[in-house]
């Protein structure tokens, strides 16, 4: 409640002129009482619930927060504010724990959205769990991340689920018979590989081969990737290869696979998003199928989000941004429903999907944390896909 002092004074003068009280002491007492009431009203401070944005940002370019802040901060009590990433050396990926400490130390922050990758998320997960801080992870997919009981909620399905989905798509829709995996030698790549192998075993088949790479094979002249692809094709002879590597090595590998074996089907995981920075030929695109988490819908919320992103980013938002937006919307909804503490928000998130607590309808689809969100997975044939504007990695 914000008293309008100007109007109050006017009304006060009007009352003074009307009420037949001439004793100054009486008026003084009335003024004191009124001022005391005003001060008491004034002292009723509004509450602001803060949410930490643990997605590393480059201050030189706009971030998702810039896009969605007007959508999230609407002035309705309790108000919601978003605290952005503030740790140094964020661009080098070593400020994850420092940022987590910053968020945890601030008692006004009731939840955190982030971190960007599985490595940083796994690094900070114990910290949030110890502090009781609910953490919604929008894009990281490492199997070890998702743990709703300890307050860590993932919006994307885990790596093994992704691997299994890719196997089903490759076998069922792309009719692959020999599936190999080329992946980065880190938890993410290993997770996808394990998911693929597990699903193939489940289907009565087996992984014909896999190779772990450092992700640096395409630097300089790409000679190591050439050798690796050739050796992989020679050793495995796959008719479909699933690549779970970052953007650069994936592009490099796609080109080598298509060059070495033109009939091969290349399937990329969620770590790859086709951009103009990595142009592929039509032939190469014809062999390529890419996994996406989200495609914009036609509902008003999605459209507002897309429109806002286009204003800020000059392009459509990607799946990671959509998941992050859903994550903020989840926390906002939890707060608006009266959950103003870390514990209550965690409880609210855990109860989604249970009787009486329907799943949250996000722009990426219904959200609860009882099962993995396999439904958001879509395999897109790049030849049919709409070219998306290039996005910064």
């Amino acid at each position: 409640m914000r008293p309008y002092l100007g109007g109050t004074l006017v009304q006060f003068r009007a009352i003074v002129s009307i009420v037949p009280i001439r004793n100054p002491r009486v008026w003084f007492a009335i003024v004191v009482v009124v001022l005391a009431a005003a001060v008491s009203c004034r002292s009723e401070r509004t509450s602001v619930m803060r949410v930490g944005d643990a997605i590393p940002r480059n201050v030189k370019e706009p971030t998702l927060l810039d896009a969605v802040r007007p959508l999230l901060v609407d002035g309705i009590e309790p108000r919601i504010d978003i605290i952005p990433w503030s740790a140094s050396a964020s661009d080098l990926g070593i400020g994850e724990s420092e940022q987590a400490d910053t968020f945890i130390a601030d008692p006004s922050i009731v939840a955190v959205v982030g971190h960007a990758g599985s490595k940083g998320t796994l690094l900070t997960k114990p910290m949030y769990r110890e502090a009781g801080m609910p953490l919604i992870v929008p894009t990281a997919t490492a199997v070890a991340i998702g743990d709703p009981a300890s307050g860590v909620f993932t919006l994307a399905p885990p790596d093994n689920v992704i691997g299994a989905f890719l196997v089903d798509e490759a076998v069922d829709h792309l009719h692959a018979r020999r599936v190999g995996v080329l992946h980065v030698a880190d938890p993410y790549g290993d997770g996808v590989r394990d998911g693929v192998a597990e699903r193939l075993r489940a289907r009565g088949d087996s992984l014909v081969g896999s190779a772990a790479l450092s992700g640096r094979e395409c630097e300089t002249d790409g000679l190591p990737m050439d050798a690796i692809v050739r050796a992989f094709l020679q050793r495995v002879r796959p008719d479909a290869v699933i690549i779970a590597m970052p953007q650069g090595p994936t592009w490099c590998a796609i080109r080598r696979f298509v060059a070495e074996q033109p009939d091969i089907t290349v399937i990329t995981s969620d770590s790859y998003a086709y951009t103009d920075g990595a142009p592929l030929t039509s032939v190469e695109r014809a062999h390529l199928h890419s996994l996406v988490f989200w495609t914009p819908g036609n509902d008003s919320i999605t459209q507002r989000f897309v429109a806002r992103s286009r204003v800020v980013f000059k392009r459509d938002p990607d799946a990671g941004q959509a998941l992050s937006y859903d994550a903020f919307r989840l926390i906002k909804t939890a707060i608006r429903e009266g959950n103003v503490t870390r514990a209550s928000i965690s409880t609210w998130l855990q109860q989604l999907g249970t009787p009486g607590h329907p799943a949250f309808q996000g722009i990426t689809g219904p959200i609860d944390f009882k099962t993995s969100r396999k439904s958001i997975l879509h395999l897109q044939a790049l030849s049919d896909s709409v070219r998306m504007p290039p996005a910064k990695q």
Binding site: L92, I94, A185, D186, L213, S214, P224, A227, I228, F232
Partner: protein
């Protein structure tokens, strides 16, 4: 502990309360400790822990990266070996797979090496170096993986290129790793320096804290000593003294703080207790005073001597019961009266003269005899002692007069004087009467011999009779003198008092003037044990005195009977208890007697009559007679009204009176020999003549020695011995004791004129059978002697016949 006088005047200084001091000290100490603890806990310890953790992480990171570099070097060396082997023969696929797996593991290990929550070298330089190092590792691994793939495909050329690239990348990797390590070590050095700084800070903090305590401790001790320890010690001392009963103590109140106020409370409490104790002591003293007053009042009231508190002006303030008795008045009724009102008029001036000295406290009055007038007009004699009593401040309060009733004492003294006079008279009369009786005995005896001798002419016999009658009157006079001296040997026989009174009244009525009207009232006929002749003489003397008191005639009233006499009267007049007392009251309405005359009426030879009309022995003889009969006599007389004399005589328990009749002389019926022992020749002669006339053989002895000798010479020729009681050399009693010792069967008769040796029982103890009073008549002698000689002979004859 300071004395009260030295402390009460000191006002307590305003001071901070002890609670505030303690709270302040505790707060300051707690603040110092808290600051130190907080500083150490929040600054030193976390920083030290963080630095230690960073050191550990740096060490682990350095170890891991060193291990990684070694593994890469080993892998490169191994692959070079494999490459050389591949030139000779195809390398086994499994061998390649194993080595590829090894490189992949190295690659995963490199990805896992990340400082976690250490903020180790959290700088862009370190991050860049770390990124470069990781990138170099990845590149070396990529080259090695490519080389292995080339080996697998048999592309030796590519393999050599990639291995050479790996070699070329390995050196920068080492440099990068060394750079990272140096940065980490430098960061660690900075951290160690910071740790030293924290250690110095903690040391400084603790040192400051210690210095503060060292500096503050004496001040705190001094403060606590003045404000807490010393006051508590004062309390301890004071309470110990209070516990020992000493309430005269106060605690010095120096500061106006809690203990100061407590001390003030204590002082007020002890003051209240002192006040209460003083009140209790006053109450106890008052109670003791009241008890003492009560005891004094009880002693005062119940004292056997008269006590009176008299104001200085002579007003009676308080008198006790005995004093009331002395005055013959109710004590309460005379309080407020003047003391001199009750003093005999002749002694008032003496009292007034002595009072002025006593009232001024100059000299107390001690045991002076003064007379007081009772309410009934009688005079009380008392020994008076007066002393001045003063108040505690010395001012005179009143005079305490002590009266010791001497009235009875004076009466006894008069009686003693009377007895002394009578004793003197008795001595005189006894000595005279003995010789007088001996003479009269001779006269009467010879006169009776002449009178009994028929051979004499009638004229001689009439003359002898006249001589005998005159001698008998002389004997009566002698008996009167002995009775007066209470030395007579009056007879002890019961007789009816009414007969004696009646005979006396008859005599009086016949002989007194007709103007004297004689009235007799007798209610009873008591029996008296005694001598009726003496009683009759006493009564006759009283009647004569009454007649003489009524020269113009009047009423002589004699009232006799048995009266109830109270115990006090019996005790005072030595009357036997529980014995009826017969009274004979002789009353006249004559001239009466003044007190001074009344006080001397029992004195022998005291008379107010003319010289030829009285001997002054009448009342004296009556007094002696009554006393001899165990009774008493009182006289009440008022001038102009008359006189009443009352005789009190104890009654006898004998109810029958034996009448005695006169008889003729008894002649001896048997020849007997009688020994008459008497030092008086006339008595021996006349007794011899009388006994011979009666027919007895008579021998005589001039004293006891001669008699004893006679009996020793021939005991059996003597049948009876008559022994005079008063003889020289050996008196009659001793003579009889010796005779009786050798001749217990020999009867002896005691003849006496006045001597009364402890009664008849004493006579029987020495062997006397009978007593005969001199002068004895012919008839009396014959009957007594015949009673023993005839009986004894009769008994002898009875014994002979047996």
């Amino acid at each position: 502990m300071t004395e009260r006088s030295a402390t009460v005047s000191l006002a307590p200084r305003r001071a901070v309360s002890i609670r505030a001091i303690i709270i302040s000290i505790a707060a300051i100490a707690f603040g110092f400790i808290l600051v130190t603890g907080v500083a150490i806990a929040l600054r030193v310890v976390p920083r030290a822990s963080a630095i230690a953790a960073r050191g550990a992480i740096a060490r682990d990171d350095y170890t891991a990266r060193t291990k990684l570099a070694a593994q890469l070097d080993s892998a490169i060396t191994d692959l070079w070996t494999v490459l050389r082997q591949s030139r000779i023969h195809r390398v086994n696929a499994d061998s390649v797979a194993v080595r590829r797996k090894h490189v992949e593991d190295i690659l995963r290990g490199a990805g896992a090496i990340r400082p976690f929550r250490s903020n180790l070298a959290n700088t862009k330089e370190f991050a860049t170096s770390l990124e470069y190092a990781d990138g170099a590792t990845s590149r070396v691994a990529a080259a090695l993986l490519g080389a292995l793939a080339a080996i697998e495909t048999g592309d030796v050329h590519t393999t050599e290129i990639l291995m050479s690239r790996a070699d070329s990348l390995d050196a920068p990797l080492t440099d990068r790793l060394n750079q990272v390590t140096e940065i980490a070590l430098a960061d660690l050095a900075v951290a160690e320096k910071n740790l030293e700084g924290e250690a110095r800070f903690a040391t400084w903090l603790l040192t400051v804290l210690l210095l503060v305590f060292v500096i503050a401790s004496p001040l705190l001790w001094r403060l606590l000593q003045r404000r807490l320890v010393q006051p508590l010690h004062n309390f301890d001392t004071a309470l110990n003294r209070v516990e020992a009963g000493d309430l005269d103590i106060e605690i010095p109140v120096t500061f106006d703080d809690e203990l100061g106020r407590l001390g003030a409370h204590f002082n007020r409490t002890t003051q209240v207790l002192r006040t209460q104790r003083a009140a209790g002591e006053r109450a106890a003293a008052q109670s003791a005073l009241e008890a003492s007053e009560a005891r004094y009042r009880a002693a005062f009231e119940e004292a056997a001597i008269g006590l009176a508190e008299i104001a200085l002006d002579g007003t009676l303030l308080r008198i006790n019961k005995t004093m009331g008795i002395i005055f013959g008045r109710d004590p309460d009724a005379i309080v407020g009266s003047q003391f001199t009102q009750f003093v005999h008029p002749e002694d008032v001036q003496l009292i007034v003269d002595g009072w002025s000295h006593v009232a001024r406290g100059e000299a107390p009055v001690t045991r002076i005899e003064r007379r007081f007038i009772k309410a009934d007009g009688t005079v009380a004699i008392a020994h008076a002692t007066a002393s001045l009593l003063r108040h505690s401040d010395g001012t005179p309060r009143h005079v305490l007069v002590v009266l010791s009733d001497a009235t009875e004492q004076r009466r006894l003294e008069r009686e003693l004087m009377q007895a002394t006079k009578l004793e003197a008279i008795g001595q005189l009369a006894g000595g005279v009467a003995h010789d007088f009786n001996n003479l009269l005995g001779g006269i009467i005896g010879y006169a009776e011999l002449l009178e009994e001798d028929n051979t004499n002419s009638s004229a001689v016999r009439e003359d002898a009779a006249s001589i005998r009658q005159a001698a008998v009157k002389g004997a009566d006079l002698a008996r009167s003198l002995l009775a007066l001296a209470r030395r007579s040997t009056h007879r002890e026989e019961p007789f009816a008092l009414d007969a004696v009174i009646q005979e006396t009244v008859d005599l009086v009525r016949r002989t007194f003037d007709r103007r004297v009207q004689v009235e007799l009232v007798m209610d009873d006929a008591p029996i008296i044990l005694g001598d009726r002749t003496l009683i009759a003489n006493a009564l006759l003397n009283l009647a004569v005195n009454a007649r003489d008191a009524m020269p113009d005639g009047g009423v002589l009233r004699i009232v006799a009977g048995v009266q109830k006499v109270d115990a006090e009267f019996r005790l005072r007049n030595e009357l036997p208890p529980h014995v009826p007392v017969a009274t004979i009251q002789v009353n006249d309405n004559g001239v009466g007697m003044p007190p001074q005359v009344l006080a001397r009426v029992f004195e022998p030879f005291f008379t107010t009559k003319e010289p030829d009309k009285g001997t002054g022995l009448g009342l004296a003889m009556a007094y002696g007679t009554v006393k001899d009969h165990g009774g008493t006599i009182t006289v009440d007389s008022t001038v102009g009204v008359g006189t009443t004399v009352t005789l009190y005589l104890p009654c006898s328990d004998v109810i029958d009176v034996v009448a005695t009749t006169a008889s003729a002389p008894v002649l001896a019926r048997t020849p007997s020999r009688i020994l008459v022992v008497d030092d008086e020749p006339l008595i021996r002669s006349v007794a011899t003549r009388m006994l011979q006339r009666l027919g007895y053989e008579v021998e005589s002895a001039e004293d006891g020695i001669a008699a004893i000798d006679r009996l020793h010479a021939d005991t059996h020729s003597i049948d009876l011995v008559i022994i005079d009681g008063n003889m020289p050399r050996l008196n009659g009693i001793e003579t009889a004791r010796r005779i009786h010792a050798r001749h217990p069967e020999l009867p002896m008769i005691f003849a006496t004129g006045h001597f009364d040796p402890d009664g008849d029982e004493a006579l029987s103890d020495v062997g006397f059978r009978e007593r005969i009073e001199k002068p004895y008549s012919f008839e009396t002698l014959s009957s007594v002697v015949a009673r023993y000689l005839d009986v004894g002979n009769t008994q002898s004859q009875d014994a002979k016949s047996d």
